[in-house]
């Protein structure tokens, strides 16, 4: 279990692959095929440090596949992935996570058998010394408004609380890049607003880069610096939210005329 030391951070000026150092993530010609179907088609994607990018697109556009390629759950058929100045294409998931990539799954997956504090302990012990566990846990639970649930078994939490706990666990890893797959699916209006505020705060205060897959356009509008529209496995449009909203083509592929 690689425990990266948060205090020491050296970002190389320009690394040998010529990738601009301020870019936290870059993919080149990333491709994934399942039998006959091309889920991800030669995607060149870049993300700056601390940027909050939303990934939208009709169902089956390859959003989840793209995320799984980044986390290493899926191996690409072709192309490379550069993260934090290094080529991580071949790395298994647990080593990528060790370098600061963390993931919030589409289906909320917390350790339902363990208490909230125990849940947090699993990621925390990767990055922090044991004597700091209690302080760090209190800090995260306060920030994610879960303090009273310290000793409750995660399985008994509400859907919204579980989502917040899972994001909290991802944050406990002190990531530089966080990938979130539909974090507000099935949440109430206030809970969605809380999550939006939280994500914005993580991007701005903690300087963490975020890629968020979400269908709720209003939610995207409130939080996204830029938006990438995926369709048929490739990037269809990319730019600030106002541009994307105004673009008639985007409406067309969403409303399902032939594309």
């Amino acid at each position: 279990m690689a425990t990266s030391d948060p205090s020491v951070k050296t970002t190389p000026a320009v690394d040998e692959t010529g990738a601009d150092s301020s870019r936290i993530l870059q993919t080149r010609g990333l491709r994934k095929e399942f039998g006959g179907l091309t889920a991800t088609d030669a995607v060149d994607f870049t993300l700056e440090e601390g940027e909050l990018r939303c990934l939208i697109g009709p169902n089956g556009a390859g959003k989840s596949t793209f995320l799984n390629l980044l986390t290493g759950q899926l191996a690409p058929t072709a192309g490379e992935i550069y993260y934090d100045g290094a080529d991580i294409t071949g790395l298994p998931s647990h080593e990528r996570v060790g370098r600061g990539i963390s993931m919030k799954f589409q289906v909320p997956s917390v350790y339902e058998g363990l208490t909230v504090a125990q849940n947090l302990r699993i990621p925390l012990q990767q990055v922090v010394e044991p004597d700091a566990f209690d302080a760090r846990t209190r800090e995260i639970l306060e920030r994610f408004d879960l303090l009273e649930q310290w000793g409750t078994v995660a399985g008994e939490l509400s859907h919204g609380q579980q989502q917040r706990l899972e994001i909290g666990m991802a944050m406990a890893m002190e990531p530089k890049l966080m990938l979130l797959d539909e974090p507000v699916a099935g949440l109430s209006i206030e809970e969605t607003a809380d999550i939006a505020e939280l994500l914005r705060e993580i991007a701005d205060d903690d300087g963490v880069a975020l890629i968020v897959i979400e269908h709720d356009i209003d939610f995207v509008e409130t939080i996204a610096d830029r938006v990438t529209v995926l369709d048929g496995g490739s990037i269809f449009r990319e730019g600030p939210i106002e541009e994307i909203k105004a673009d008639p083509e985007v409406k067309r592929i969403y409303l399902g005329e032939d594309h």
């Binding site: 399942f34 039998g35 006959g36 179907l37």
Partner: protein, 293 residues
Amino acid sequence: MAGAGLLNFGFEFVEIFAFIVLATVGLAVIFGMMGIINLAHGEFILVGAYATTFAFAAGAPLPLAMLTGVVLTAVYGLVLERLIIRHLYGRLLDSMVVTWGISLVMIQLTRIVFGNTAPGIGIPFGQLPIVDGPVYYLVLAVVAVGVLGGLYALFMWTDFGIRARATMQDEATARSMGVDTDRMYMSTFAVGSGLAGLAGALYAPVMTITPEYGTGFLIEAFVAVVVGGASVLVGTVLASGLLGTVNAAVTNVAGTFMGQVAMLIAAIVAIRLMPDGITGLLADWRENRGEGQ
């Protein structure tokens, strides 16, 4: 290999192939389809063997005695399903431990009630000319293939089969489409038990009947189901073929014992190379070649 040697190997293979298929087919239904790891499978076979033996000793002709064996085991399976197995659906590991308890109880009860031996039945139909092995083994092979064909027809083409498979794959949806899932579980389990009883009945004349009679079938059956993989019937045939070949080849060279050891090692390697079994592998090949989708 000389002509006779080849014939011997062929006969040996037929003998072991029939044994594995018949030992496995009942378990394939119960474990493969219903997700119940039935460690008492050997003792279901035992019920079939004892029922056949005592029916035969009471004067019934052999085929009728075997039929009683099958029917009695199916009824026995039904009773057990309603009493205990019903609570184990979806609890894979618990089903293994509970059926293991049932197996311990059944072996010891058989010993207490029936003592250590049961009257023997001679092997019917004389013997083959060149190979000098009993004709009965060929009969067993034919029955084995017949049973597989019958099961395939039952589960693929009949209305019962489709509803049973639907229940096993997704009980909730099946129930929502009006399938009486409880009855499906009961009847599928009864079919599985009946098949185990059939294996016991068919091998009653060949092997000495003792309370530990069933354990001789257990490992071959489990290994074949696991090596066979997801699709129950095709998997059983392929696994029995693979394991049968290995067993027959080594038995011919180094005796039945090394044949058994070789087969088990082949099974370990097969489970390792094909974690989802042969049929799992076939499904992946089809998928990668783009045919599936």
